[in-house]
């Protein structure tokens, strides 16, 4: 796989990206390097795109059980431009604000993309978390019932965004666990 044309990022572009994302200067340059290594030969980095498979095989995402959902949520038309990758890194960075993380977490966990996290989504989340061969049906159903009875305030057996946001705002660990530092440089 060849490399993109090795253009240094313009200073204005760097400043703009710093203002538009939560990434620090070093992180942006690091992601720029990683992007250049992966993108097809002979293209300017602002026009090049990466496939979802390429992004899924980054070391940060390779073993993540939700990597297909992450790629689907952050890509546009099934490809990643440089700015899409930056946007993804911004949401997962340490400095990102809680509302942004909660918003994207909701989109990632909504497997069937109907705007709600329903029982089917919850089942898939738990199976991905635990690795399907270890889990009994009872444990799964029990757990889903508990989650819904805690967070579903209007009793429609689904979690809407506000209910999800309300639940996650109380969680002390959410900000720490929804974080990726290292993007492969």
């Amino acid at each position: 796989m060849g490399q993109c044309l090795r253009y240094q990022m313009h200073w204005e572009d760097l400043e703009e990206y710093q203002a538009l994302t939560f990434l620090t200067r070093n992180e942006i340059l690091c992601i720029h390097d990683t992007f250049l290594k992966l993108c097809p030969a002979g293209k300017y980095y602002k026009e090049a795109t990466l496939t979802m498979d390429q992004v899924s095989s980054l070391p940060a995402l390779r073993v993540n059980p939700f990597r297909d959902r992450i790629c689907r949520v952050f890509s546009h038309n099934n490809v990643f431009s440089f700015e899409d990758v930056l946007g993804m890194a911004s949401v997962f960075s340490e400095q990102a604000c809680p509302s942004l993380k909660i918003e994207y977490a909701f989109r990632i966990y909504d497997f069937n993309e109907n705007g709600f996290i329903d029982e089917e989504d919850l089942q898939r989340i738990v199976l991905r978390l635990l690795n399907s061969d270890d889990v009994s049906e009872d444990l799964l159903m029990d757990l889903i019932q508990h989650v819904l009875s805690e967070s579903d305030l209007d009793n429609d057996n689904m979690l809407s965004f506000s209910e999800f946001e309300h639940a996650m705002a109380k969680s002390p660990d959410f900000m720490n666990s929804f974080r990726i530092h290292f993007w492969g440089c």
Binding site: A19, L20, H76, G87, Y109, E113, G115, N131, D134, A167
Partner: protein
Amino acid sequence: MEGGLHWEPEPWGPPGSSLASVLKELPSAATIRYRGPGVLPWGSLEEEEEKDGGRSIQAFAGASQMEQETHPSRELPWPMQARRVHRKNQAGQHGAYSSQSRVGHWARLLTRGQEKMKAGLRGLQPWAWTVKRIGGQFGGGTKSYFSLLRFLLLLNVLASVLVACMVLLPTWLQGTPPGPPGPNASSSCGSYSPHASGLASFASQLFNLLSGEGYLEWSPLFYGFYPARGYLGVTYLCSVFASGLLCLLLILRRSVSGLKQTLLAESGALTSYSHRVFSAWDFGLSGAVHVRLRQRNILYELQVELEEAEVRRRAKARTLGQQARVWLVRGLLNLLVMALLGAAFYGVYWVTEETGRLQEKPLVQQAPLLQLVVSYVPSIFLSTVNVVLPPVFNLIGQLEGYTRSHQIVLILIRTVFLRLASLLVLLFSLWSQITCGGNAQAPECKDCGYNYKELPCWETRVGQEMYKLLLFDLLISLAFALLFQFPRKIFCGLCPGPLGRWAGTLEFQVPDEVLGLIYAQTVVWVGSFFCPLLPLLNTAKFVLLFYLKKLTLFSTCSPAARTFRASMASFFFPLILLLGLVLSAVPVLYSIFLIQPSKLCGPFRGKESIWAQIPESIRTLPRTAQNFFFFLGSQAFAVPLLLISSILMAYTVALANSYGRLISELRRQIETEARNKVFLAQRAVALGSENRPL
């Protein structure tokens, strides 16, 4: 959901925009997430988009833009291009954000530095990766055993360091210590000749190694070796007190941190399954091994949570008759447990008496092998009782209907009395031998204050008993693993049918193993006054034990079917360890204050009591220091200290009570908040539908 809302999405005046924003916040509303100008809203279907797409996008654009005007561009969940446009429209407000971000930047660097330092310190602990792997593969309960073992290793290392500095160093600083008194030296309190005369065979050398007699008796290993010169007496006493205090502080610290975790985890109102599902996964994890471990950890935690929730639910659902039956069963089982314990204690006492009588027979005196076996009989009986009774308690525990964590704690408490009280009975029989049953006027004890004919150097004898217990415990563990656990796994694994399946599901018995650790540590605490090198030997023993248990675990045990909560373990195990420490202080303090030291050996020979060394040394200090120390020991200091401590304690208890009441009040408020929200939303919808006909 379908009986819901078909609102007109035209942008209204001020009342309309407030209704739209309320509707957007309603849990029941179809929340179509706005992804930015020109992009399909999140969660909207294709057909809807064509029908009234323009209108819905417009409505949300109206409502969202009013909110998002105040947000910096990077906080918006939109694609980069949309944010660029938004930023251009917000050109004037950048100065404020950059200065904020500088302060925030330093704060973040600081927290990140702190986290890295904590992670680094945790990585310094030995076997950190092994313990983590054990936790992932076998559950939190097994992991708590190994982290307790590591903690005890730390305690022993610190105690050995203290002994080396305060006992060994002063002994050799003032010249080589003198050799043992010969058989001709005698005094009014008999004679003491620790070395056997003449050549000793190899077999008897081996027996001497195992029982601490012969050449080991007059060695730095035991109390009797240390000479009575210089400051050795003071430093010897102070080393014991210092290591006891250090152990107490470290155990309390560990227990308190476990208590904090337990309180959080145990309270039903604060546990949250939604947290466990949605924030369980650490997105920063990389490496397939870590991922697998994390998945196992999550599975174990969920299992524990769900099991405890189930038990709590069943307990709430019991009728009065069922409750009464459960309590009756529990009462009967407790009586049974106490009967078994009482029988065990009496059995130990009887065996010790019989052994004492047996050792005086001439047949036994002549054959060293028989002598060794007979001297080990009390230990063998103790170990047998400790092997037979805990499975019985385990069975009883399962009938009581508590959660697994509570079961483990109850089994521990019952068995700990068995283990530790057996040790105390052994010490009691030793005491009655040394002090002629407490009768200071008995003919053997009248002259010297202790039984000088049988035990010319009684401290060394007590040290030897503890040394034998330590060695025997290690040999038993080795023998049990090699001769029982491994063959059981290998042979039963080869058998077909239920026996083979049973062998495949053998689990690591955490309560038994933990008690073994606590017993071993209590023996060392009792013996470290009489045998100063015992903590050093124990360090080596625990290192060996760690590798032995790890090997046994990975080779013969399968992961636990039901695990228990690790936070409860980290609170209770140190507490029971504390019980062992307190119980071990009793014989040591009794010996220091109330029994006359041996006249022929040890650094306190010739004194009234071991403690008498301290006032004597204080009297050699300058006048003001003397007055200060004697004041500290007088009642004028002790009584006000006691009063102040009681007042502080009462105040702390009152404070804790009021915090407890505050917590239950807040918990009740949390429960009503959720209901308030639903009620308000319903009212808002009702009001909205009333307004429409207008």
